[in-house]
């Protein structure tokens, strides 16, 4: 073949015709493209209808399992007010009660996460990059990351007293380790051939770190942050459960207290709020990964 064709080196026919063309509209493509959304809408509608029917059937106690419409009502009052309820009554439901508590949770959660991520990434980078730091930090990092964080709560309480600082401590100690460990793993697993290539083309030690190790580690950091965000959410709800008696609020506190007050619709409304928030956050970080590390899109899924 190389004898009969002229020995000119070019890309062959790849440039003679656009490589990417618009695919025409067909029902088949429409369905392939939107089937997930369509199925999800139908699925959820059926789910909520079944919920309503089951709750109204009398087979379950509505104190434990409220109707979906009651939950929606609590959501409405908790989020947008209009219930004309002044302050907390004994059943916890008040105008904007979910908003206030959600705001409290969001505040503590985001500050803690910023600290956890902001400290976790440099710690992971240092541990991955330096054998000394690695050796010094490893015993503490691995022990603490394996220890169920709730076990240190009594000590944290002794040190910090009852208050917001204990919440921050729990959330940060829950969320920081995935960031550290993933970042560390990214640095450690950087492909030797990429490092060799950089060296062959003249990279100094610093350039190897900046131009190879850091970009290689970035997707690891992103997935560490993803894990951290959901671990931190566990941390925040846990912290709010534990400080429940202190009336410091938060969505976890609302779940806990409303359940204790047998206001099941409010409990479910608070839970739904939390679930939707968590869902959006996970999806958000997924698109973040696609934006930050577009080269990983194909290797994933």
């Amino acid at each position: 073949m190389s004898q009969t064709t002229p020995r000119k080196v070019d890309g062959g026919s790849i440039t003679s015709q656009p490589r990417i063309q618009e695919a025409g509209w067909t029902w088949q493509r429409f369905w392939t493209r939107y089937r997930f959304a369509i199925i999800t809408v139908i699925n959820l509608t059926v789910f909520f209808i079944l919920w309503e029917v089951f709750a109204r059937s009398g087979r379950v106690n509505q104190l434990i399992f409220p109707t979906f419409t009651d939950v929606l009502n609590s959501l409405k009052i908790g989020w947008f007010g209009g219930g004309n309820l002044e302050g907390f009554n004994n059943r916890m439901l008040a105008d904007f009660v979910i908003v206030h508590n959600f705001w409290e949770t969001l505040k503590i959660y985001s500050i803690s996460m910023l600290i956890a991520i902001g400290a976790g990434i440099p710690i992971g980078l240092l541990m991955g990059g330096s054998k000394w730091v690695d050796a010094l930090m490893s015993p503490y990092i691995w022990t603490l990351s394996s220890l169920p964080r709730i076990a240190i709560y009594p000590i944290l309480l002794l040190f910090l007293g009852i208050g917001d600082s204990v919440k921050y401590a729990i959330i940060i100690s829950t969320a920081i380790f995935p960031v550290i460990i993933n970042t560390w793993a990214g640095v450690k697993t950087t492909e030797q051939s990429l490092i060799n290539a950089a060296k062959v083309f003249g990279a100094s030690k610093g350039q190897v770190y900046r131009k190879v190790v850091l970009p290689y580690t970035l997707p690891f950091v992103v997935s560490g942050v993803q894990q951290s965000l959901s671990r931190g959410l566990v941390g925040v709800v846990l912290a709010e459960f534990l400080s429940g008696a202190t009336k410091l609020g938060g969505i976890g506190w609302l779940v806990f207290r409303s359940a204790a007050a047998f206001n099941a619709p409010l409990t479910y409304a608070a839970l739904l709020t939390l679930a939707v928030f968590a869902l959006f956050m996970v999806q958000g970080t997924r698109s973040m990964e696609a934006k930050i590390a577009p080269w990983r899109q194909v290797t994933k899924t």
Binding site: S2, A197, F201, P294
Partner: protein, 301 residues
């Protein structure tokens, strides 16, 4: 046809000279030093296409890494242009078997890497022109802004070759560059490489374990014995250029003799390497005949 003396050397200047070179690497996990090659005496002349053939694990890659300046010799010397090799140089570019192109960089940014890392004093317009020219030479026009994961294996390796060529180095080191490609792509790439090298007049050190590839590319073929590798014989290939690709070189009248001779050399080495590997796995009661274990260069068990 075969000679260990360098009859071609009278007209050409020695560019890379290895004298009594012994080198290897450390197996960190097993706390062992592995001698990859021993007592290598080899001269690469300016403008020559030298192919190293040998069984896997015979230290071909170690040799090329020493020449690139990535690792240091344990014993002996390797000089480039009369001076001992100290670290990497812009004179010597390398192409890797697993491409080793940065997945987070587009095609053009990968090819721009050598300029970026070496801080070469090239005006931006000239740099841009050189990158564009190299992209056209390897036939990647239209893919400047593609990411590696969007390219086929052959195209990825063309990025690797373009990156190695863009600074117009005097020496091109290729470590089994087409080993991971399918047969069809490999033949096209071989023809392209031969064409490029004849155009840019580079000195080439090319590693392969394919005899046919060696015959279709090399001016001289150095057969390396199995671990620890040493030069068993240097075979000259007097076939006119441009040559037939790997799949068709078999039709050339000189092919049969060359191939038989090379194969007889390589076969011993491959069997020796196999015997070594077997013995390392099962040291006692091995059924490998003693004769094969004693083949040249196989003394280290």
């Amino acid at each position: 046809m075969t000679s260990t003396s360098e009859s071609n050397g009278s007209t050409k200047r020695p560019l890379i000279v290895a004298e009594n070179l012994t080198a290897g690497y450390e197996l960190e996990r097993e706390r062992k030093l592995l001698t990859a090659l021993t007592n290598i005496n080899l001269t690469v002349h300016e403008g020559e296409f030298l192919v190293l053939v040998g069984p896997s694990g015979c230290g071909k890659t170690t040799f090329i890494n020493v020449v690139a300046g990535l690792i240091e010799p344990w014993e002996g010397t390797v000089t480039y242009d009369g001076k001992p090799i100290e670290g990497t140089s812009k004179d010597r570019s390398m192409v890797f078997q697993d491409y080793a192109i940065m997945p987070w960089r587009t095609v053009e940014h990968n090819i721009a890497l050598p300029f970026e890392l070496r801080n070469l004093d090239v005006p931006p317009e000239e740099k841009k022109a050189k990158i564009q020219q190299t992209i056209e030479v390897v036939g990647l026009q239209g893919f400047e802004t593609s990411f590696p994961h969007e390219l086929s294996g052959g195209m990825k390796q063309r990025v690797g070759i373009a990156r190695a060529l863009v600074t117009q180095p005097r020496v091109l080191l290729l470590d089994e560059p087409f080993g991971a490609l399918d047969a069809m792509t490999r033949e096209v790439m071989q023809a392209q490489l031969e064409h490029l090298v004849s155009e840019f007049k580079q000195t080439v050190v090319f590693i392969t374990h394919s005899i046919d590839e060696a015959i279709s590319l090399g001016d001289r073929i150095a057969v390396i014995s199995h671990r620890p590798g040493t030069v068993r014989e240097i075979v000259e290939v007097d076939i006119e250029r441009p040559r037939l690709a790997e799949g068709e070189i078999t039709k050339h009248p000189q092919y049969g003799d060359l191939r038989n001779h090379l194969w007889s050399l390589v076969k011993d080495e491959a069997l020796g390497a196999y015997a070594d590997d077997r013995l390392e796995v099962e040291p006692a009661g091995s059924e490998i005949p003693q004769q094969q274990v004693d083949s040249p260069g196989g003394g280290r068990l």
